[in-house]
Symmetry: C2
Subunit: 236 residues, 2 copies
């Protein structure tokens, strides 16, 4: 893109756009996605509600922007945790733990943004295809760790119970092909399961299902993460 130097107008547009998103995020944390009010956001910014439509064509588009940003934020947190673990220890298990914990930590810090992306889909709206790429970053981080472990021979064969059925392996094959990750399909299949189960743990904690069930949240999570690591072939 041969982008010119931004004029005052374009720069202002960018700044106002992020100001709107920031204010919206603040409102999100206050009362959740369903009660996010365009008018309230505009009011707080000293604008009139109609002016806001110059930046986001609808409320759902604002939400989509927040969703994309949130996926980016968890993804970045996961990647950062992985990179840091790589610089500290050689163990793939340590990296696996680091990414899982980073996801949980981010969720606890941004519960409403987490709910936005991993909770019920908002009203009547379909996630546009533009969100699928940032949505896959956490999964990619996990798969990347497994690939490293695999290439360095640190991976146990995951099939301890029955092997995954043909259809599942086929999906996994296609997935590693799409993502360009060098990994046996059997491992990838277990990784996808572990990935979704990881978010099951985080969601249940965050959405209140652990009330009166689990008190030692962090210890419980860490233990479950060890099990997931085992399930995926990262032997301890």
């Amino acid at each position: 893109m041969a982008s010119k130097i931004q004029g005052a107008r374009q720069r202002a547009r960018g700044e106002i756009t992020t100001a709107i998103k920031d204010e919206a995020r603040r409102h999100l944390a206050d009362e959740g996605a369903a009660r996010l009010s365009l008018r309230a956001v505009a009011r707080e910014l000293g604008m009139v509600s109609s002016a806001l439509y110059r930046y986001f064509p609808s409320r759902d588009d604002l939400l989509t922007a927040l969703i994309t940003d949130a996926y980016g934020a968890v993804g970045a947190a996961a990647e950062a945790a992985r990179a840091e673990a790589e610089s500290v220890a050689d163990s793939h298990l340590v990296r696996w733990r680091a990414v899982c914990r980073a996801v949980r930590a981010w969720a606890l810090e941004h519960p409403h943004e987490y709910a936005l992306i991993y909770g019920s889909p908002v009203p009547g709206y379909e996630a546009p295809p533009s969100t699928t790429q940032p949505a896959s970053r956490v999964g990619l981080a996990l798969l990347g760790i497994l690939r490293d472990a695999h290439t360095s021979g640190a991976l146990r064969e995951p099939a301890r119970t029955a092997a995954a059925p043909e259809a599942v392996l086929k999906d996994a094959e296609r997935l590693v092909g799409d993502l360009g990750v060098q990994l046996p399909a059997a491992v990838a299949a277990e990784a996808v399961a572990a990935w979704s189960q990881l978010f099951g743990l985080v969601s249940f904690e965050l959405f209140g299902q652990f009330t009166n069930v689990v008190a030692a949240r962090e210890a419980f999570f860490d233990h479950a993460v060890e099990r997931l690591a085992d399930q995926v072939g990262l032997r301890r």
Copy 2:
């Protein structure tokens, strides 16, 4: 249907209450919880919106009623599946599969009700204590299967990786005490993890995270359920 309901006042009250809930459920299936409109429900029922407040003091109370019903419905589905499996086969693994599949099947049939209870918590509202009892029915069904397996000696010691840490075992101990289920704490701890991971699988499928990732949904789920069973000590 705006059919007039006659009869004793109390009966009419009961019938109208369920009519409101039914209509609300229908609207729920159409456009999701966030867009559930009291006025629209009343309109469909041939009432005026204010009349509806005689039955539910607020929109959130209507949602709470729907939530409680939904928990009851999944719980009933899970219990029915368990009972039917018990009458058919002696295998505890078969019962475990049956309950897990019943949960998924119910979720696929009632996606919006599922989102209501296992998705993001609605707006600014806290689940009242009255929902925690029906919310635990699925978990109880799973724990019950494990207890039966345990008392009949069909349970493998689940600790294959490290044992659960002290704090986790203590929680599990308290849990089996509260529920009156005779089960080793180590097993209960794994069961809670498996329980939340089960819903991670269902939620990811239902909320669209498996788009472009998993195509053979049922096979994938079934395979993951086998892994969960293994994790929990139900050897195959």
